[in-house]
């Protein structure tokens, strides 16, 4: 099995085609880029050429949204084969997916839907992760979900569920700190306690993103919109996590109302500064 991460322990940014000119024109000093492999599951043309160029200049992480690992169904063989083709061709520094489902009976749903957390679904998830890792010949990372509704089926606490999935399958964890904050708020658990219990040796990557409050005045549910700068309490949780587990490759996600490249680059620089501070804190704590 490959090591947990080949990404640099710096801030990376989600790649957007609209930033291609800024990125390829000046080659900014951002540590790495993330792409969704689904957007590149085509035979040829300018899209793949752009990915080729990106991979020639930066480490790239392939973060899937379509495998439906938590769907309790056999994985879609065509989708898996398409993923393997991309992984084999571009040799990304990292491959990751979500603890979620996004397809049911052959119909892709274009969203990350909540997987019930039970003994049975855990076993199914572990089987799915194993299938992927065996098929592509790599260790992957799995990301903690964003939750909006409490599912009555749930019988295993989230962190226990995802850590157990990683321990049994040998995959690593991608901790989305924004998701932790949103889910804790929406479902009413303690985000700090979650962050403090994350098994650091299993974490291969961290995600940060902006969120929004729902317009519904009777329920201030938070929505994972990836449409804004990272919120202060999410930075605080990030600092708390990296102060304990150390530097990790950290992604700034911004997928809606995408700003100009300079704004995104500033957010990445800010994440790098937080990562630097975390290392200093660790030295201080050790001395």
């Amino acid at each position: 099995m490959t090591p947990l991460t080949q990404l640099p322990e710096r801030a990376g940014v989600g790649f957007k085609a609209e930033h291609a000119q800024d990125i390829f024109g000046s080659e900014p000093t951002v540590g790495w880029f993330e792409i969704h492999p689904e957007n590149y599951m085509v035979a040829g043309g300018p899209r793949l050429a752009m990915l080729e160029e990106l991979c020639a200049h930066y480490p790239v992480s392939m973060h899937g949204v379509g495998l439906s690992l938590g769907g309790g169904e056999p994985l879609n063989k065509n989708h898996l084969a398409d993923l393997k083709r991309l992984v084999d061709r571009f040799n990304p520094a990292m491959v990751s997916e979500h603890i979620a489902w996004s397809a049911h009976e052959g119909l892709y749903m274009a969203d990350l839907l909540p997987t019930p957390m039970t003994k049975t679904s855990l076993a199914q998830l572990v089987d799915a992760i194993n299938s992927v890792q065996d098929f592509i010949g790599r260790r992957i990372l799995i990301e903690n979900p964003t939750s909006y509704v409490p599912l009555p089926q749930n019988s295993i606490p989230e962190l226990e569920f995802i850590a157990e999935a990683a321990a049994r399958s040998g995959c690593g964890l991608l901790i989305d700190v924004n998701n932790v904050y949103i889910s804790a708020h929406n479902l009413g658990f303690d985000a700090n306690a979650f962050i403090d219990a994350v098994p650091g040796d299993l974490v291969g990557e961290i995600h940060l993103a902006g969120h929004e409050e729902d317009a519904n005045p009777d329920d201030n549910v938070l929505i994972d919109t990836h449409s804004r700068p990272v919120a202060d309490p999410v930075w605080d949780l990030f600092d708390r996590l990296i102060a304990r587990i150390g530097r990790k490759p950290t992604l700034i996600e911004w997928d809606n109302d995408v700003p100009g490249w300079d704004v995104l680059a500033r957010e990445a620089t800010l994440a790098d500064r937080h990562l630097d501070c975390a290392v200093n804190d660790q030295f201080e704590a050790a001395s």
Partner: protein, 264 residues
């Protein structure tokens, strides 16, 4: 296992339901508006993906009506791939059987043109046959057969689909002016010799020539005769040069050798 299956079935049925207020039994009272977040993500995501694949159709009908069309299309789908990179196959057929056709009869063909553009844009990369590769082969040309480039499609319509598409997609964002669109049939050749999608309207003779050559597998000589039969004004040399320039043929071609031609 059965309890989980019931969960996934119920959740996805509610997400797919045309009734926006349907909530699965796994979502407890008081959380219906939160389930709506998932529902909105699913539908918005699919409508936007369809709109990205058919931007000109969306412009022609407006965002609001496009969402209504998208809702009907999404509802009609029985399979959907986990990648939306080529999403929207069959949208033209959906539009052809939709009442919108009474008002905008050319809309299904605009969708076919946009689908061709998307497929051409994402199909296999290959070298186009260049004019210079045929230099010195004048004697063999007549017997030669040619294949269409893998990134090449033909869209034939009873309507001026290229003119309509062009009016909605001005170059560099500049309005091309309110040029009136002449009602006529257009057959559009869509190619991508390298990384840029190109379109040309073919004359009747050119369309007959190209179909005879690449679809029916006739030799260049026979395809010319066929084209001249269909259109006496067909200009062989100018047309063949134009097809080569736009990258319509695959460079992987068996060039007949012999008759004093020296292999270089």
């Amino acid at each position: 296992m059965t309890e989980l299956k019931a969960f996934y079935d119920g959740f996805s049925d509610a997400l797919r339901s045309p009734e926006p207020d349907v909530v699965p039994s796994s979502v407890t009272d008081g959380y219906a508006h939160r389930f709506a977040i998932y529902r909105n993500n699913v539908h918005r995501g699919l409508y936007d993906a369809l709109g990205a694949a058919y931007p000109t159709v969306r412009k022609l009908v407006g965002d609001g009506f496009f969402d209504q069309l998208a809702q009907g299309f999404v509802q009609s789908e029985t399979t959907r791939a986990g990648s939306l990179a080529l999403y929207g196959a069959g949208f033209a057929e959906f539009l052809a059987s939709h009442p919108v056709r009474d008002r905008l009869p050319y809309l299904p063909d605009i969708a076919r043109l946009e689908r061709a553009r998307l497929e051409v844009s994402t199909s296999e990369d290959a070298k186009p046959l260049l004019a210079e590769e045929l230099g010195g082969l004048e004697d063999q040309l007549e017997a030669m057969t040619l294949r269409a480039h893998p990134a090449c499609q033909v869209v034939a319509s009873e309507y001026p689909v290229f003119a309509i598409w062009n009016a909605q997609n001005p170059v560099n964002g500049k309005e091309t002016g309110k040029t009136s669109i002449v009602q006529r049939a257009e057959t559009v050749l869509v190619t991508r010799p390298y990384m840029q999608v190109e379109m040309r309207v073919m004359t009747h003779g050119q369309a007959a020539f190209f179909a005879a050559l690449t679809r029916d597998g006739l030799s260049l000589g026979d395809a010319c005769a066929h084209a001249l039969e269909a259109d006496a004004a067909f200009d062989v040399m100018a047309s063949f040069a134009a097809f080569l320039t736009i990258g319509a043929f695959d460079a992987r071609v068996n060039i007949p050798r012999g008759n004093g031609h020296d292999d270089a």
